[in-house]
């Protein structure tokens, strides 16, 4: 069969839109809430609820370790999980560019549906628009999600001196993988994005107890989230450089590109601040959950440099970790 492409008709709301929904979307997302195809989904949920939204414009659309579809589920599922919620329902908004290959769209939808199933969420409502060629980068997605809050009270305000800082695995994988994929500098699978749903890891940590706050360090990386934890307080997030797990490939790529793994985006890692009493048990719970094998305690909350995130280097010196400013740019030499 000849390759097929998205045309403006697919976004018209008419026959081709219905066909796209019937042939591609409904089979992928089959569930009782979506099936009636009303103007919205009617849901059974019990409060309190967490509600979050995220948009996805990643380039390249397919990257080592994932694609925009998988990312779109993980992004919102992870945000909900960090609120102490069990993610339940997603909406899916698609903005497609005229001429986008239908085959690519199928791949993305399949991956999206697969990821949603794997974390127990249902795509229950959606919308598709098509923009003229040249007015979009192939495909943009938006997902919004609802989750039922099972572990309330997570907040940076709950952080106390002496708390431990945990990360669920290696840092900087997604940012460096995408950067290198974009540059075409590296072929093969040496560097793979860590893109994955965090609902299981979050549940594992929260079930132990003593978790003050959870955050997934996406754009801006671990350093930026640590700043958000202590900004404007009298507390200091202090991290030990050699305790932070970093893949050797990521370290090498970062030194080549002039990046710092602590500022590179992650899409499948969580940072947790945990009471000193339960930290060992939370670490154990993370490590025995798939995707958390390399979890580590990377530092603690002190009062040494109030309001700041600080890294203690292998040489015993301190350096302040500021928030990320601007976009990460590769350097010259």
């Amino acid at each position: 069969m000849e390759p097929q492409y998205i045309t403006l008709d697919h976004g018209s709301g008419g026959g081709r839109t219905a066909q796209l929904i019937a042939e591609l979307l409904l089979p992928a997302f089959q569930n009782p809430h979506l099936a009636p195809l009303g103007d919205g989904a009617l849901l059974d949920v019990s409060g309190p609820l967490a509600f979050s939204t995220d948009s996805f414009v990643i380039d390249p659309i397919f990257f080592p370790g994932g694609d925009i579809g998988k990312l779109a589920v993980c992004g919102t599922v992870n945000d909900l999980s960090m609120c102490g919620a069990v993610p339940k329902y997603l909406s899916l908004g698609m903005i497609l560019e005229e001429g986008f290959p239908v085959e690519d769209l199928k791949r993305i939808i399949t991956s999206l549906a697969h990821t949603a199933t794997s974390c127990g969420v249902q795509v229950v409502t959606g919308d598709t628009k098509v923009v003229e060629r040249g007015h979009g980068h192939g495909i943009y997605l938006n997902t919004s999600g609802i989750g039922e809050v099972k572990w309330p009270g997570l907040s940076p305000q709950a952080i106390r001196e002496g708390d431990q800082i945990l990360v669920s695995g290696t840092v900087g994988d997604h940012g460096t993988a995408v950067m290198l994929a974009r540059s075409g500098m590296l072929q093969g699978d040496e560097l793979v994005s860590d893109c994955m749903p965090l609902n299981q890891l979050a549940a594992a940590a929260l079930s132990v107890g003593g978790v003050r706050v959870l955050r997934d360090p996406t754009r801006g990386g671990v350093a930026t989230v640590l700043n958000e934890f202590v900004e404007g307080t009298s507390l200091c997030a202090q991290v030990q450089e050699d305790a932070v797990p970093v893949r050797p490939q990521v370290e090498a790529a970062c030194s080549l590109l002039g990046l710092d793994p602590l500022y590179c985006a992650n899409e499948g890692k969580l940072l947790a601040v945990v009471s000193p009493e339960t930290a060992p048990a939370v670490l154990e719970a993370l490590r025995s959950t798939p995707g958390g094998e390399h979890a580590a305690i990377i530092g603690s909350i002190t009062t040494q440099f109030p309001g700041r995130a600080v890294l203690k280097t292998a040489f015993g010196a301190h350096r302040v970790l500021s928030k990320l400013s601007g976009v990460l740019l590769p350097r010259i030499c």
Partner: protein, 363 residues
């Protein structure tokens, strides 16, 4: 075999660390010439190990930082020409011209075709893929990037590309050091010499420091272990008044350097007088394309005449680059001028002294 990571760990260096921390060391001012050293010293925390009387001064070794504002104005002009695709290393995107806020990011947002590349070869590929566009590569850097840039020109010639040109802003390190040393108020006691430049030129390129100026000099690598070991060597020399050239970075730097790279540079590039931010005009401190490569010279194709510098700016990047003041002594530092909103190039570049001082500040 040792790998790079082994030079990052402090194991086995305790005695050297202790020696450079010695509170009884005599007062001295040492210059790290290279921007990558500036950043590495801050990132690893090695800078903090030194006692207060041992001062480290950042030198003119950040290529972005030494590019004058009026030169950036011309770059901005060329980027906006119809039919031009400007390719550049990422650092330059945020360097303002003489008007605050006017940078390549802004030009791109307003419709200029500007692409960040990782190598001049990427620019060549773009030129091949878009024969309708004039692809200009912004060649910024020192002797480290010069050979690769020269190779790209040779390759463009071999392939007969008609739509690729180089805007050659490459600079030479040794003449800038000579210019610094000839300044009367330049009180630096020893140099941490740039390991990457020395990889190309050879350690011998820095022999003139001890031989002509009686200044201690150590060619240094970039990992924490390299920095500690090199500083130790340098401090010993200054302390003992025994100026000589030592090479700590022997795993990459030979005495005579990379001769193949030098040959490519000599084939394509020729020294020319150049202007450095903060240092002014320095004879034979830059590289231009040789006349036989004029077909690939963006200067010939689009013209290039930086306007004379106008009123002095309160930005003191020039003084920072020369080591006359530290970043924090500039009145704009951390208030008007931050990495989010840089006024001068030392705050823009990931290798700039001000960016390093701001990002890794300790208060």
């Amino acid at each position: 075999m040792l790998c790079e990571a082994d030079f990052r760990r402090p194991q086995g260096l305790e005695r050297l660390v202790e020696a450079i921390q010695d509170p009884h060391l005599p007062p001295m001012r040492l210059m790290e010439v290279c921007g990558t050293h500036t950043m590495a010293l801050a990132r690893t925390g090695v800078r903090q190990l030194l006692p207060p009387q041992v001062q480290l001064i950042s030198g003119p070794g950040c290529p972005v930082c030494v590019t004058p504002a009026n030169v950036m104005d011309e770059v901005l002009r060329i980027s906006a020409l119809p039919g031009v695709t400007l390719t550049t290393y990422g650092d330059l995107m945020r360097v303002p011209g003489s008007k605050p806020g006017f940078d390549l990011r802004r030009q791109k947002a307003l419709g200029a075709d500007i692409q960040v590349v990782y190598s001049p070869m990427d620019a060549l590929e773009l030129a091949k893929a878009h024969p309708e566009q004039q692809v200009v590569f912004l060649g910024v850097g020192f002797e480290t990037t010069a050979p690769g840039t020269a190779l790209a020109v040779l390759e463009a010639q071999r392939q007969g590309l008609k739509n690729f040109s180089l805007l050659c802003l490459l600079k030479a390190t040794p003449p800038a050091l000579r210019a610094l040393l000839s300044q009367e108020d330049f009180g630096v006691d020893g140099f941490l010499c740039p390991g990457h430049v020395a990889t190309i030129l050879g350690a011998d390129a820095f022999q003139f420091l001890p031989q002509e100026y009686e200044k201690p000099a150590v060619v240094a690598g970039f990992e924490a272990g390299d920095l500690v070991a090199s500083l130790h060597l340098l401090i010993q020399q200054v302390k003992g008044h025994t100026p000589k050239l030592e090479n700590e970075y022997t795993r990459a730097v030979s005495q005579e350097g990379n001769q193949m790279a030098q040959a490519v540079m000599a084939q394509v590039l020729e020294p020319k007088d150049d202007t450095w931010r903060g240092l002014g005009d320095i004879p034979l401190s830059g590289f231009g394309l040789k006349p036989e490569f004029a077909a690939f010279d963006a200067v010939a194709r689009f013209g290039f005449s930086p306007a004379p510098q106008t009123a002095p700016s309160p930005c003191r990047c020039g003084d920072v680059i020369c080591g006359r003041i530290g970043p924090k002594e500039c009145p704009l530092f951390g208030t008007v001028c931050t990495p989010d909103n840089p006024v001068g190039p030392c705050m823009v570049s990931g290798e700039g002294a001000c960016a390093a001082a701001y990002l890794y500040r300790r208060e």
